[in-house]
Symmetry: C2
Subunit: 202 residues, 2 copies
Amino acid sequence: MEQQSRLAGTVRPGGRTARTRAAVLEATQDELVECGFHGLNMDRVAAKAGVGKTTVYRRWGDPAGLVTDLMAELAESSAPHADTGGIEGDLLANALNVLGAVTDPRLGATFQAVIAAATGNEAAAAALNDFYLRRIRAWAPVVDRAVARGELPEGTDGMEVIRAVSAPLYYRLLVTREPVDEKVAEHAAARALAGARAGAFT
Amino acid sequence: MEQQSRLAGTVRPGGRTARTRAAVLEATQDELVECGFHGLNMDRVAAKAGVGKTTVYRRWGDPAGLVTDLMAELAESSAPHADTGGIEGDLLANALNVLGAVTDPRLGATFQAVIAAATGNEAAAAALNDFYLRRIRAWAPVVDRAVARGELPEGTDGMEVIRAVSAPLYYRLLVTREPVDEKVAEHAAARALAGARAGAFT
DNA sequence: GGCCAAACGGGACTGCTGTTCCATTAATGC
DNA sequence: GCATTAATGGAACAGCAGTCCCGTTTGGCC
């Protein structure tokens, strides 16, 4: 049932195989937007992608395999961090970046699907961990630069500050299910900054 | 397919009906610990509870209905907040309380299941929102008392501070899938406190 | 204690998910 | 270009989740 879904191990990654994968992942995202993860249907994905359902089952195994591959795909194409010249602007940019991602219909549906899939699926959990670790590492330098500029205390943990900015947004989105908007994003950035200035992240 | 799962609307809530519900919810939690939400099987739950599977389908409809009812049950029996005499101890107690809940095998499995169910199920999402709103309201007074004692700035938003303590724990648990331990809990409490003292929660 | 209807239980049934088999297509290496 | 074989597609098949029907049990009420 469980099987590797990454294209990496295939012997013939070019041409048809790559086209099939692109079409299937595209169709998967469409389905996620319409039906969510729990409504993700392998047959419909295959039909919408224009490939045989045998192919989908063989290469991805189950819905969790599809969203795991989708997440791996997103991990490749991560945008670089901002540089507004000051830590306040950089953290706000990070918060708005997260807000934009979870608010975007396609991306938001994908993130929620992977998070749902990751409860009880080791591969999906690993893909999720990989994605966010990359993202946090990519943004941590904005904190390091602020430390170098003297805006934040020496020894401030950049990755922890970045985590602190994202956490409230995801907490509301996933746990309390309260609305997530610009105000929440601004507060998240401001509070992480206040904690960092107070030396709570050293 | 979707149907109300709460016992509230039943005409005969006593005797057999209540026993059936208790047995089914107990069996559901057992299954969640063993198989997780995606492996939750209505037939096995019915068998383990010693009731007919028709009954389970009729009253709860689907796995999401089961975990939603379970969450509603947990919402009833919420523990009162701590009172250590100081805001630092109270917030730490809150963080350790959350840590204990998500670390406990039965509770943790239940929370993760409801969170997974809530992506794409309105009833589960509502139960989740209700549970956490109750919990946050129950703990907010520790902040209000601290403000009254002069430990925190006037106008500090108690509910927001409580949210800020929980958020990093759930963020790690659900999103980045990093380990959650006492150190993380202590940091979460300390950073929320630092932000509050700096006036970031007013 | 007895009546009535709500709630339950068992078993047959159905449709869909996921598998298997084999023929067909096309990517790779020469 | 041509041979090899990885990868795909279609169709038949199997198993189980979820539904339906109807007889049985039991809680609420007088």
